[in-house]
């Protein structure tokens, strides 16, 4: 695409420095002292033409066109590592990178095909896999325990469980959903799901730069929330948690919010007596970027794992705030082929090697993207004796039955 046409695109999406600096978070960008901590901590920083430090330097020079026409920002997996380490506390991932990535996506000569398909699917079907929205709740039929579907039975509920796309469609995600339903049931939680009315929360689309798609999904989901009566939202999607907490709030999301891992951690007193089966495993926990670095929930999943009889918890060399992204955020779920074509190491493999080095039998996670990514990585690395489990799956297994 020529320079002139990308200038037109820029005008159409109304990017201006004024709009970027219109908020206190945006203005904070100007306090950058160019230390380079962001580039140093970024898992793909050495492959990035414009890491956050250089974006800010270029912004100061007033020549953002150079940044917008570089595809290097496709390497950003929105892992919050730069944000967590920035000594000035600049909201790099949420504010700067999102705005820049939106412009990059607009100006791309060719959108990587898997990412494009995922975005088109999310718009049309409400999920990136391109599955039928009419089958979103199909998994619930054989969940093993009753799962109430609000469109079929709209009575008020305590917990509105937002299952999200991977939990609804991905074969491994569905297994996690069944485990979660079993836990809700055992704890006698009054819960229900939105069934086929639920749509992708959209956070990965937003962090890939598709802000318009995110806005459309947010409008749709907010309209659905308003149809039903519930006390709180509990989601299995770590990225959905982020979307609701930081973005949907701006359009009126006022419901008490929890991620399933946090919800069960709060109920550990009730849950612990039910955990009767010994698992006798060495488990290492992978901190997801959103629950961990972005929200600071490091101990809750570890408390849950520690409560399982026979579990020995071991740590990877990078843990908690230093955890390495599985590579699935910010559109990375659909950029593996693109990264491979560039010759990059897959982050899921980099991370799986760290898990193997602990000598653990089980790699535990709490974000639905991670299971398939790590299972694939372990296959590639030829270390299939290690199993990948969501924390809720291990809890359900420890309940026996």
């Amino acid at each position: 695409m020529s320079q002139s046409s990308s200038a037109t695109l820029q005008a159409e999406s109304e990017f201006t420095l004024e709009s970027l600096f219109g908020s206190p978070e945006g203005r904070k960008i100007l306090t950058c002292m160019q230390c380079g901590m962001c580039a140093g901590t970024c898992p793909y920083g050495d492959m990035m033409e414009f890491p956050p430090r250089r974006i800010i330097a270029t912004l100061r020079e007033g020549d953002m066109e150079r940044v917008f026409t570089s595809s290097g920002l496709l390497n950003c997996v929105a892992c919050y590592a730069c944000t967590a380490k920035c000594p000035r506390g600049i909201a790099l991932t949420e504010v700067l990178l999102t705005v820049v990535k939106e412009q990059v996506l607009l100006g791309l000569e060719e959108t990587p095909v898997e990412l494009q398909k995922a975005l088109e699917n999310t718009l049309r079907y409400g999920n990136p896999m391109g599955e039928s929205p009419r089958r979103r709740a199909a998994w619930a039929k054989d969940a093993g325990v009753p799962v109430r579907i609000l469109p079929e039975d709209p009575r008020p509920t305590d917990v509105l469980w937002f299952v999200e796309c991977y939990g609804a469609y991905h074969p491994r995600g569905v297994e996690t959903s069944r485990a979660t339903a079993k836990l809700f049931h055992a704890l006698k939680v009054d819960f229900a799901i939105l069934g086929n009315e639920e749509k992708c929360a959209g956070e990965s689309a937003r962090l890939a730069g598709e802000v318009g798609l995110f806005d459309a999904l947010m409008e749709d989901n907010m309209a659905i929330f308003q149809k039903y009566s519930f006390e709180r939202v509990v989601t299995s999607g770590a990225h959905a948690y982020d979307a609701f907490r930081y973005q949907y709030k701006d359009v009126g999301f006022r419901y008490p919010l929890e991620h399933t891992t946090l919800f069960f951690s709060d109920k550990l007193d009730q849950l612990e007596p039910l955990l009767k089966k010994r698992l006798d495993s060495k488990v290492t926990y992978h901190d997801s970027c959103t629950l961990g670095r972005h929200n600071g929930f490091y101990e809750e999943p570890r408390r849950l794992l520690g409560a399982i009889p026979g579990v020995e918890l071991v740590e990877m060399c990078h843990n908690r705030v230093n955890s390495i992204c599985c590579g699935g955020g910010g559109g990375g779920m659909w950029l593996d082929t693109y990264y491979k074509s560039k010759g990059y190491e897959r982050l899921s493999e980099r991370r799986a090697k760290e898990a193997i080095a602990t000598g653990a039998d089980v790699l535990a996670c709490s974000c639905p993207y991670e299971i398939s990514r790590f299972e694939d990585a372990l296959k590639v690395l030829g270390h299939e004796e290690m199993v990948v489990r969501d924390v809720t799956e291990l809890l359900a297994e420890a309940m026996g039955g």
Binding site: E110, R124, R134, V211
Partner: protein, 261 residues
Amino acid sequence: MDTLVVLKMVPDIVEELTLAADGRGLDRNQARMILNESDDHALEEALLLKERHGGKVTVLALDAPELDEALFAALAKGADRAVKVTGAAEGLGTRQAAAVLGQALEREQGLKPVDLILTGVQAIDDLDGLLAPLLAHLLGLPFLGIVNQVSVDGSARKAIATKECPAGFQARFEVDLPAVLGIQSAEKMPRYVPVGKVRAAMKSRTIELLPAPPAGEAALVAPELLRMKKPEEAGHAEFLEGSLDEVSEKLCEILSDRGLM
């Protein structure tokens, strides 16, 4: 270099297809409609030609559910004009659709003259022929199908169309313009258009409405559809195991048992 792209909405096979009560077609209330995939490629090829040679791209389609989204997406991608033919009967066969579109092209000011007419090489619900050759016949224009690349000379009087042939061959044809081309695939994947741009197009652009002209004498009689059925589930494949001789013997037995040998 003005190009007209004819688009068509087809049943989306991501959703389960159900038959109508009379068994003579799909249940249109259950089906969702999506832009025919090769029509999307035809649009992409037209946009590439516009980027190279200038000119205008017009998209034309018979009204159908979810068509507006597809037309606004086409405008957001770079089409200059979107025209929707309204009031034609639902679920027209390809021959009838070609007759209506052909009449619309003859009658509506400004749709012709055009240098190229592009449309997808086929659609999944073509039951009675392909649109591009029918349209070419009605308009008296040359036709080439299964095209995957188009280049045009400076005068826009001739085009070179690359056509996929059996056995992995590619053939290049020179064709006088105007012509109708059935596009198999564009030179690159159809471009992504961000949702924000489609929404902006919905606010700032309009879809022109064109009442369907009577199909007239040009309308060829559509074949009568007697019954539509879902494919029946057949038995599973049988694998013959053993040494080469054993397998050959079993194979001969099966064939002779069934009177085939």
